[in-house]
Symmetry: C2
Amino acid sequence: MPIAPIIEDTTEPGPRGNYRKTAATRARILDAALDVFGEAGFDKGSLREVAEKAGISQAGLLHHYPNKVALLSAVLERRDERALSGLSSRPNGVEHLAYLVAYARESSLRPGEIDLFAVLSAEATRPDHPANDYMRRRYHWVSGIMRTSFEEAARAGLLREGIDPGEAASQLIALWDGLQIQWLLRVNDVVVADRLEQFIDLQLVRPLREIVQTEPA
Amino acid sequence: MPIAPIIEDTTEPGPRGNYRKTAATRARILDAALDVFGEAGFDKGSLREVAEKAGISQAGLLHHYPNKVALLSAVLERRDERALSGLSSRPNGVEHLAYLVAYARESSLRPGEIDLFAVLSAEATRPDHPANDYMRRRYHWVSGIMRTSFEEAARAGLLREGIDPGEAASQLIALWDGLQIQWLLRVNDVVVADRLEQFIDLQLVRPLREIVQTEPA
């Protein structure tokens, strides 16, 4: 896991400066939380460790995030927002699918993060888990995006006959989750992004790389 | 989760009777362990609860399984042995694939067990987890079986051109793991066995149900 960079605070005083300072502190806390939870797991990672890694006091941390669940939710939401912002800059469904492949490739550089999300995805299936609600909403949201992408591909005449966009979306998410487990276990020499691309290619009339010329990260 | 049946011990005394009695006690303990770990999770489920549910003393339990990890390993191995014994009675690769679909359908009747294995599969990706070694061996073993099944299908002229048996096996396991998460989260109305069958059908020249007339559980 990369060490969270210490963000230098060069903002001037005043409301806007304070706002920026708060944003920078929060970003530092979330980077630290991702590191700590990614290495030790959510159950075992402590707020004390997060505060230490972020270079602030525990009271300071609690001022921003009153408990571990609030902190975890913020980590999850930030990760999703980042992914979404990359997605929204793409013009259409097939470009979205190419983006997901690029995103999978790029996130393989952060194994601790993948580990955290793989374990959390499974643990949070339990109705009493603090992230259960978030994970359920997240699956609906992600599968909605992928479904729309496959629907747009269908309208552009790029989806193979007989492929149902909703099912293709659900299979793609399942593959992603399952391949990450194999990758983390270091079995089958899995390169997650390659496998996702192969699956998407099976749904399309032409390979993704022929339709989308580049695969920008 | 079904309550583990209390097995009545009607065996006569003597070495053979003792052996049978031991086997019956162990079966009762493993049923109880599956229930307890399936409901509470491996971390939170206690040996005390398992002993209580199995109707024996904690000392009696420790006589058979000296610690939680030994107990978990025995639960995992028994489950795999059962699955394997069903598999070995099938004559060839395509029949094996049909069996896996039937197995997925049948195990959906035991959600607690699926929950335990889904969470464990993810948690055990961590190298320091007590089941890490077992899970790695298990993935190699399961993907070997599936790969052989697809290879046999290829030799019988039933695999689509361009499909790599090893990759199809790895994708099938990943799909299975990932779909179980969606099923446990109750999103996307996933019926795991149906989705696995659809995936297998995509790899074959004819649908599984046309090749294997019945799908016995």
